[in-house]
């Protein structure tokens, strides 16, 4: 298999879907002529024309609203919001319209659309262009949410998202676009389910998106003294927590790693579920390791320090499993 990037895997998924189904359209700011703010949709305008690759004005609420109307009437729109931070602009259309239409209208009107966006830190993009707002999407019944953390998932999860009968929020990570990897012939796990990325008996670490990569780096460094089981949550809403709970029941320890602000995060939800479902199996309380409860600062030094990395994951894992207190604990 040939190596490709996360960015090109996303592009490939869009190309394949648009070739296979002429009801698929793309719409968003700079998706056409410019080729996408992060270059994902380069070349698509030439290939599919302006009726299917639609450059829009800077009107996020109406981009999502128009995608909803197109989805209700038979198209399969992929709307792009350049940064997930602009969720503040679109939450009415997303949470009150897209997410609730099927339900409010008694099952008559589905909204089969994908909202592609990207988030996360790593580029010193500061407080309004670096957030991880997946908890907002997870807090909304009716939405589906996935966040690919590997090249293969970038392709397969996006293809799967575009086949869903319900709205899917698809959050890419700005720090992963240049990551290299292979696109598997089949998805690493079925749509909606977590993927076990590494087997181990001492500790379970649940993660997703870019933090999955940091977690895998940490797990490598921890071995062989500490064998870590790494669970990639990938599809967060609805969340199939079965494989994660099975893992925690085997290892008795659970650390959840996210880049998002920790309070009321995905990590908080997972910790609550682990407490409820694995109480008798736990050696230690489930631990959350997330972004600090602060806006993201611009200085690279501050930005880096505000979110977990492999080193910190390793520290916490050693403390949790081997009772080795890290230097910062003193």
């Amino acid at each position: 298999m040939t190596q490709t990037t996360y960015r090109d895997a996303l592009l490939q998924a869009l190309l394949d879907a648009m070739d296979a189904d002429e009801t698929v359209i793309l719409m968003g700011e700079e998706v056409g002529l410019y080729g996408g703010a992060y270059g994902v949709t380069k070349g698509m305008l030439d290939r599919f024309g302006a009726n299917r690759v639609i450059d829009t004005p800077i009107s996020e609420p109406a981009i999502v609203g128009a995608a909803i109307g197109a989805a209700m009437t038979g198209l399969r729109p992929v709307a792009e919001i350049m940064y997930v931070d602009f969720a503040g602009m679109v939450m009415d259309q997303l949470a009150n319209q897209a997410a609730k239409s099927r339900y409010m209208f008694g099952g008559q009107i589905g909204v089969p659309m994908v909202l592609r966006t990207q988030g996360g830190t790593g580029r010193s993009a500061a407080a309004q262009h670096s957030q991880s707002l997946e908890a907002w999407m997870m807090h909304t019944p009716g939405l589906r949410l996935c966040m690919p953390g590997t090249v293969s998932d970038a392709y397969h999860l996006l293809r799967d998202a575009m086949r869903q009968p319900d709205p899917v929020v698809f959050i890419e990570h700005k720090g992963l676009y240049t990551m290299k990897g292979e696109i598997g012939d089949v998805p690493d796990a079925p749509w909606g389910q977590p993927a076990i990325r590494r087997r181990g008996g001492d500790l379970t670490i649940a993660s997703y998106s870019r933090m999955l990569q940091e977690t895998l780096t940490a797990a490598e460094a921890l071995a062989p003294e500490i064998e870590t089981e790494v669970v990639d949550l990938r599809c967060l809403n609805p969340l199939d927590d079965g494989p994660l709970m099975d893992s925690v029941r085997r290892t008795g320890r659970c650390l959840i790693v996210t880049e998002a602000v920790t309070t009321c995060s995905v990590a908080s939800e997972i910790a609550a579920r682990v407490s409820e479902q694995c109480f008798d199996w736990l050696e230690e309380p489930p631990l959350r390791l997330g972004g600090e409860d602060i806006p993201i600062p611009v200085s690279p030094a501050l930005e880096r320090a505000s979110i977990p990395d492999a080193r910190l994951i390793e520290d916490v894992a050693r403390w949790l499993v081997a009772r080795e207190a890290p230097s910062w604990a003193a």
Binding site: P57, I68, G69, P165
Partner: protein, 334 residues
Amino acid sequence: MTFANDAPLARYRTMRRIRTFEERVGELFLKGESAGSMLHLSIGEEAVVGLTDHMAEGDTFTTHHRGHGIFLARGADPMRMLAEIAGREAGYCRGKGGSMHIADRGLGHLGANAIVGGGIPHVVGAGITARNTGTRVVSVAFFGDGGMGQGILYEAMNMAALWKLPVVFCCINNQYGMGTRVDRSAGRQDFPARAEAFGLRAARADGSDVEAVHDAAQAIVEGARDGQPGFMEIDAYRFHGHARMDKSPYRTPEEEEEGRARDPLATARTSLADDTLLDTIDAEAEAEMDTAMKTAIAATPPASDTMFQDVYDPSTPAPRPQRARLADVLEERA
């Protein structure tokens, strides 16, 4: 009663059916049979029929929270509407949506909306679908004067003009958004001028005269069908309070009297001038709505486990009931 394709008479009948329907909705509330009190009557706004008469099968629309009349004008079954408003299983949305979220895909109703302006951009998407699939349908967004304050309207009008979509924005100006009269919410009240500034064809018509609305709406709707998006303001008066509990203490009896004199049904009666015939139409509307009301009230409420249905497509698992989750946790520890 059947009569030859006499359009003004048919429009009168539709308007009368709307008014009688809305009166029954008011009674439904007084009987304690409605689901809640968030009921917004469109009495005084019946002349919207002048616009909906230009719509055809296949056309789609969204409405605001005061949309009963629009939906009836597009062919809704009053019994299923009342059942929905009463929260019954037989309702259009199986008792999940109610007055403010009524919809019917088959009749082109893409949904009533309780977020002011919330349904407006959906017609832009419907317009993209029409363009891309080469059908000659139009999509109409209906909203109130309050919607003129929402930014998403201007985003949507711009997109419709930019892409020349078969879309109409129809503002039913009943002079009030809750207790705020338009002169307290709009710096300049020339709404068609706003639409024209975006490149839409725009018109304003007297909402006390359904034939005037019909005449003005022709070019707007047909223009949209040909790719010239439009805007239509219907100048009306909200006869009653904002919702069922509102007694409108913020306006004077004199103003209300003047406003209610702008009655599209009275105007139509005067010009049609056949009292016997019109009385028959009125009696038929009463009988129709009485029957609809009886049937709706007798209908059963939805079973409680239907609450988990239709959060997601039925081909995928429904959300897990909380009791089942708690039972799992507590039984395992017993």
